[in-house]
């Protein structure tokens, strides 16, 4: 069996080259050659999915969540404070507010995202006001979140 190898990546499936058109497809005038071409385009789609740039944004959110959890845990247990490296200079709350995750959310889940955006804006304002009351520099402003 032949393993498809596109752009240097070995794909996790085999044997598509053996696929031929079905009797129904042949009746409609489809040639065997077309049927062979189809799985290869599918393979290309899969390569694109594996390399999806959207994964980067998700990784950043996961990284930021880990950072938040680490800080919360250290504060909660009165351990010496250390802030792990940030995966992105712009925080998730700001990113949510400025629509940085819109491209990752399916349309039918958009109402849930709208709720999160409002909460993020509120929380961010509260944190900013709290920090300012203690005389600490304000949050990042004006910089747009670049998802990918």
């Amino acid at each position: 069996m032949r393993v498809l190898n596109i752009a240097g990546d070995k794909l996790p499936f085999k044997g598509f080259a053996h696929r031929v058109s079905s009797p129904e497809e042949r009746r409609r005038g489809k040639r065997v050659k077309d049927a062979v071409r189809k799985p290869i385009s599918l393979a290309r789609t899969m390569v694109r999915r594996i390399r999806s740039p959207k994964g980067k944004t998700r990784e950043r959110v996961r990284g930021t969540l880990l950072q938040t959890e680490a800080l919360w845990r250290a504060m909660h247990s009165h351990h010496p404070l250390e802030l792990p490296e940030s995966p992105h200079p712009i925080g998730t709350l700001h990113a949510l507010e400025t629509g940085g995750f819109d491209h990752l959310v399916p349309k039918k889940r958009m109402p849930a995202l709208a709720g999160l955006k409002k909460e993020a804006a509120g929380l961010r304002r509260e944190i900013r006001e709290f920090a300012e009351s203690l005389g600490i520099e304000p949050l990042l402003e004006g910089a747009a979140w670049k998802g990918n």
Binding site: T57, R58, V61, R62, T64, L65, Q67, T68, E69, L71, W72, M75, H76, H78, L81, L83, S86, P89, I90, G91, T92, L93, H94, L96, F101, L104, V105, R109, A112, L113, L116, E119, A120, L123, R124, E126, I127, R128, F130, A131, L134, I136, E137, P138, L139, L140, E141, A143
Partner: protein
């Protein structure tokens, strides 16, 4: 952009200054907890 802080860095700065158990320390903890919950929900939404 340089010199400015994101939310986690800001909360970290506050946490460093405050004495554990003080009112502002506890408020910082609450903010962090809220932020964690929000990020978890965001992850559920985008995954």
């Amino acid at each position: 952009m340089e010199g400015e802080l994101n939310e986690n860095m800001l909360l970290f700065e506050i946490a460093k200054r405050e004495r554990p158990g003080s009112k502002d320390y506890i408020r910082t903890l609450k903010f962090l907890h809220k932020k964690m919950e929000l990020e978890k929900r965001l992850l559920e939404l985008i995954e």
